[in-house]
């Protein structure tokens, strides 16, 4: 650990503290929301915060009047007098029994934090609200140009920094393509961009990417993680479900740039819109993506309550950036959110008539999605039925003329007996004939007609055909997946507070209401999910726009402007660029919630286009790139790494939505986890090479070709980005990558010169040629591989024979095997795995 001894303790403060400190000048008053509230919240609220039941010494510091109230020993906070303020006295106490926070709580304050509090009190202790809960106001930007750059530039200037130069053109297009479409640029697209000298060349590229079909698929991946989408229920049994029509709807909604407010309202309450269309109802499947527990011994109501909690908490995280789950049991320890608020919010979701007593993956309410050609098939069927009925009618009329003769003959024959003494064949019909026509029952008439028709072959055939068509008509309208959707009961289900979240420990009844500290529903608003959804995207809600643009920023830069993209509460880190966040949020809302326009604004900024190359000095100063003095560089999501390999090698097969596919996965994964109940049946042909979005997601054991994905058990909005040896094993040994490497080698085989072939591979994967050094390393490696394979050609045959895209045996040469190794090396380069 010798290296650690050299460290400069000050450098260890890197991160928000150091950055915040750098901006503290004597002239600038202490900012309550940025500098005081986080300290009080983190160090004091646990015992002196909103949670009444847990509050110590009857002191609360989250409320201005309570904190400044004068008790028998004085006031905790005396504006203007830090020395008289009890909290300062206790924070500075030498007596361990007096010292606050108590040493055993391990929440010690730093001298800098105490100094800030003292200065704030000296300045009069002006109170405020947590920044994220304050109304959203668009900050004024006077500078011309892209406002993103004006705002980031101002912060950089204050910190004595400047923008990095722009990234190389090829790096830039690769970055934009992967970010917006999840796929690398095709070599022709790169060529067009590099040759385009027009002033709006970059804007053209961004618009092209936003207009591509792949854009919706890329955007949908993150939404699947947020919505805990899966193709099975989870838990014991893990039955399949068919929610994929909703997944396809999400892709289309992104592609047609559906305004975010509609996107929100449809998914939370599409069924409650006036004259709701099937599409609007389908959108509500978002809420029904929760796991379904079919474990024996579970109480149905307990399951149902779990589903309601899940819907509530998912909505809270995705749109409000609030972690509601703490409030199942108690008032929030830090945020002004009460136990009662939580249950009032669950009331919106508590009205769906679903049962907890089922493991059915198509648990009602459901919406059947008819096959695309169903309407056409039905129309065709009806047409033939009409024609057939007409023919039958015509034939019947012709035959009717022969009926009296038949009846007469029947009556005559019925008098005879067969040689064996049994009654004649039509004895029963004859008996009916003897009854007066007006006295015959319907059944008798039918028997008679059937008997007569049997003697008229043409009539019989037509009659049978009509019958069959009618049967088919009846059977139609049942095919197609059933998607679980939302619907409210006609009567209102009462909602109660549940002690510790237990379904069988109801307390007080609660109204259907928004969290009190944020807002109350307007009097005219419906008290249901529609009212909630409309409020979520209203101007009165300060959170949704901020939370949403922050997630998009996270997608573009790897980290959000607010790092905790799942939590905008009091405990979240104060953003380094608060004005930028608010400008983007206001712009987004005022643009009509235009997602593509927001992305376009950021992608055309100087800020985003910066090179991600970092100098040691800048790295030391700002290891996490909070200040944004350089461009983004981060490891891509594993699904994107797979898609990139498939696209660059030419294996990727487009898919227009539809049921999920099963690409390469090692044998036995499902079987081992489910004791053999679920068998993985590998897809065939093109379905092995679809985009990752379409891979079947078994909830209890996710697809193994991905890593660092959301669990799909609960809502996940923040990407995981770990760096472990297991990832290296996957990307060097998995057949997915080995096959892609082979395809890449084959696709570049037309380059006869070795260096040109390396360059061709680089262009397909990285959008640029290799450097001379890289060519040298790879060619010397290729030569060593070639020699080894030449020494045992059977190895080349084996290596090139795995998978489905396999050359004929004579073509499995040591040469091709060596080039495949080279391609696999390129697919594993750090640059390949990163957005840079």
């Amino acid at each position: 650990m010798a290296v650690f001894s050299h460290r400069n303790p000050l450098l260890l403060l890197a991160g928000s503290t150091a950055l915040a400190l750098s901006r503290l000048t004597a002239a600038e008053p202490v900012n309550f929301s940025r500098e005081v509230l986080p300290v009080l919240s983190d160090r004091c609220f646990y015992c002196h915060g909103p949670d009444e039941k847990h509050r110590k010494a009857d002191l609360r510091l989250d409320d201005e009047s309570a904190a400044k109230a004068v008790g028998k020993n004085g006031a905790a906070i005396v504006p203007g007098s830090p020395e008289k303020s009890l909290i300062v006295q206790r924070m500075l106490s030498k007596d361990p029994d007096e010292l606050m926070p108590p040493p055993e709580a391990h929440k010690d304050l730093t001298p800098a934090q105490i100094a800030t509090l003292q200065r704030w009190i000296a300045e009069g202790a002006p109170w405020g609200k947590h920044w994220a809960f304050t109304p959203l106001v668009r900050p004024a930007v006077k500078e011309p140009g892209n406002p993103v750059d004006a705002l980031v530039g101002a912060t950089l200037k204050r910190d004595g920094l400047d923008f990095s130069p722009s990234a190389d053109p090829s790096t830039l297009l690769r970055r934009a393509s992967l970010t917006l479409t999840g796929l690398p640029p095709a070599t022709e697209e790169m060529a067009v961009w590099l040759a385009d000298t027009s002033p709006a060349a970059w804007e053209k590229q961004v618009d092209r990417l936003l207009a591509s079909r792949a854009y919706g698929e890329r955007m949908a991946w993150d939404w699947m993680e947020a919505s805990r989408y899966a193709d099975s229920n989870g838990y014991q049994g893990d039955s399949e479900r068919t929610m994929w029509p909703w997944r396809d709807w999400v892709v289309k909604a992104f592609n047609r740039n559906m305004p975010w407010n509609d996107f929100t309202i449809w998914q939370l309450a599409g069924d409650l819109l006036p004259n709701a269309t099937d599409e609007q109802k389908l959108a509500t499947a978002f809420l029904r993506n929760h796991p379904i527990n079919g474990e024996g011994g579970r109480i149905p109501e307990e399951n149902r309550v779990d589903y309601v909690f899940d819907m509530t908490e998912t909505t809270g995280t995705v749109w409000l950036g609030l972690t509601l789950n703490c409030c199942r049991c108690h008032d929030h320890k830090f945020d002004p959110l009460t136990n009662r608020d939580y249950y009032s919010l669950t009331a919106f979701f508590n009205q769906t008539p679903l049962t907890g007593q089922s493991r059915d993956g198509q648990l009602p309410p459901v919406l059947r999605i008819p096959p695309a050609d169903e309407a056409q098939r039905l129309a065709e069927l009806e047409k033939s039925l009409t024609e057939k009925r007409q023919s039958l009618e015509t034939e019947r009329k012709a035959a009717e003329a022969r009926r009296p003769a038949w009846e007469q003959k029947l009556l005559t024959d019925a008098g005879t007996t067969k040689p064996d003494g049994q009654p004649g064949p039509d004895a029963s019909s004859a008996e009916i004939l003897r009854i007066a026509p007006e006295q015959r029952t319907d059944k008798q008439r039918k028997t008679l007609t059937t008997a007569w028709e049997a003697t008229e072959p043409a009539l019989a055939t037509l009659s049978k055909e009509v019958g069959e068509l009618e049967k088919r008509q009846k059977g139609m309208g049942k095919d197609g997946p059933k998607v679980m959707i939302m619907q409210d009961r006609s009567d209102v289900r009462k909602t109660f507070m549940l002690y510790h979240g237990l379904y069988n420990k109801p307390g007080e009844e609660v109204p259907t209401a928004l969290p009190g500290f944020l807002a109350t529903l307007p009097a005219e608003a419906p008290r249901n999910r529609l009212g909630l959804a409309q409020w979520i995207v209203s101007k009165e809600n300060p959170l949704t726009a901020r939370v949403t643009v922050n997630r998009f920023w996270q997608m573009l830069f790897g980290t959000g402007l607010v790092k905790s993209s799942e939590d905008f509460g009091v405990q979240s880190e104060f953003p380094v660029h608060p004005a930028l966040l608010d400008w983007l949020a206001a712009e987004f809302r005022e643009s009509g919630w235009n997602v593509k326009q927001l992305l376009r604004t950021i992608l055309t900024s100087r800020t985003w286009k910066q090179s991600s190359r970092v100098t040691p000095a800048l790295l030391e100063r700002d290891p996490f790139n909070k200040l944004l003095a350089r461009g983004p560089r981060f490891r891509m999501p594993s699904s994107m790494i797979r898609d990139q390999a498939l696209a660059a090698s030419g294996l990727l097969k487009p898919m227009d939505g539809g049921g999920p596919v099963n690409p390469y996965q090692p044998d036995g994964i499902w079987e081992e986890t489910t004791f053999g109940n679920k068998k993985y049946s590998r897809s065939k042909g093109d379905d092995l090479h679809r985009r990752s979005l379409y891979t079947f997601w078994r909830r209890i054991v996710g697809p193994t070709m991905f890593f660092d994905t959301g669990s799909r058990l609960v809502c996940s909005v923040k990407p995981l980005r770990t760096n472990t040896p297991l990832h290296a094993l996957a990307t060097t040994n998995d057949i997915t990558f080995v096959e892609a490497a082979r395809a890449l080698a084959l696709a570049t085989a037309d380059k006869k010169e070795a260096g040109a072939r390396v360059n061709a591979m680089f262009e397909r994967v990285l959008g640029r040629s290799a450097t001379a050094e890289q060519v040298a390393v790879l060619l010397s490696g290729m030569e060593r591989h070639r020699q080894r394979f030449a020494a045992s050609p059977d190895r080349a045959v084996k290596f090139l024979g795995e998978g489905t895209v396999v050359p004929a045996e004579p073509e499995r040469t040591p040469e091709l095997a060596a080039w495949t190794m080279t391609a696999l090396t390129i697919l594993n380069m750090d640059e390949t795995l990163n957005l840079e």
């Binding site: 014991q236 190359r613 795995e802």
Partner: protein
Amino acid sequence: MHPIDQARLHLTRREFFGRTATGIGTAALAHLLSRDGLQAAATPAVSGFPGFAPKAKRVIYLFMNGGPTHVDIFDWKPKLKEMHGQPVPDSAISGKRFSTMTGAAGGKLMLAPVEPFKQHGASGATVSALMPYTAAISDELCFIKSMHTDAVNHAPAISFLLSGGQLPGRPSLGAWLSYGLGSEAENLPAFAVMTSVSKGTSCGQIFYDFYWGSGFLPSRHQGVKFRGSRDPVLYLNDPAGVEREMKRDMLDDLAKLNTQKLNDFGDPEIAARIAQYEMSFRMQTSVPELADFSNEPASVLESYGPDVREPGTFAYNCLMARRLIERGSRCVQLMHAGWDQHNSITTELYTQCKDTDRASAALVMDLKQRGLLDDTLVIWGGEFGRTPFIQGNIKERPKWGRDHHPYAFTVWMAGGGVKPGLTYGASDDLGMDAVVDKVHVHDFQATLMHLLGIDHKRLTYRFQGRDFRLTDVFGEVVKGVIA
């Protein structure tokens, strides 16, 4: 990882690549990174942990999925035999929730233990004839007979025991240990998991990966599950036809290319990636070596029983566990499913005991003979116990069963600073409620952490604005079991 630790890693790596630029080779770089603990599988402890001298340095948790029937195996209740066939007293069940399979417990008939108990060893521990090998080593064991939990169904109860929360999403014990204490393993994961299922069981329990998840801790702390068949680790084998030298060549080239990139771009994550690729190469050798028992003495293999040679069995996993901790793993979690005897107390329970008894005892003694037991904590136990009354028809002996029972159950521990030959706490005369020296799940977790030198209140992680810990906001160390 705490942002400051993250920063420390970044800064330190930067110093490294400053040097590599001047010519230290890639292999040397990887070695340095490895030795200084700047990579996933060999990581440093959180500063300040262990906080005091630990009694145990590592843990092997033999987790018995399904809820072993305490009254049939370890918790001897002569009164149950007396009351066999009589209705359960109302006083014993009032206010208690049972699983829906039992529903209202009123009127259910008491069921005697199916096999006789005897006292064993100098300590006089009571163990049923179902567990002869465990009985024979009972002087090494510390039984806690007063365990109780909050959850009545499997997944929530297992999650509660292993992560402190009933719902998925919190870090498991092993992840906390990997995070807090770091790893000593050079070539293997700090936290490894293996699962097995009792032969011929009718139970359909699933091993959810959140049982060894890292929750909100960085995911490199999650347990690495070694599979019971084929590759113990996914994608461990090189592609068909590729020999080791070719892979080595490829990784050397890759390291050269990535080092060029590191020098050009300065992103310290590149150095970490180089190290991880090197580690992946080492694991390709170390994992098969781990699973190669050919050098184990015949007497050792014999002690674990014949199943030890069959991958995927509990006995095989027990020996793997010993080999893992010998190679530096911090926590090995074996999970064995099948203990869910709703209608199989007289049938499958026997197989279940047979599958686990011998190997569990052999593991303890094997560790002892190697001098590893002193600082290795072995734990045997499930998520809850089973009802002292019957599930099923008392006239139909082959179908006797017992339902889930959270109010009293038994676990045992060995080595790692616990008192050997001790029976701690007790349930009431019926085995219904823990009554003497009650040990709640959070107390149990606090005690495990304490044995490993961790104050359970201090090892916390900030997530969504709150400092989380294994024991939630509860838990008292059970001093009485500590040697």
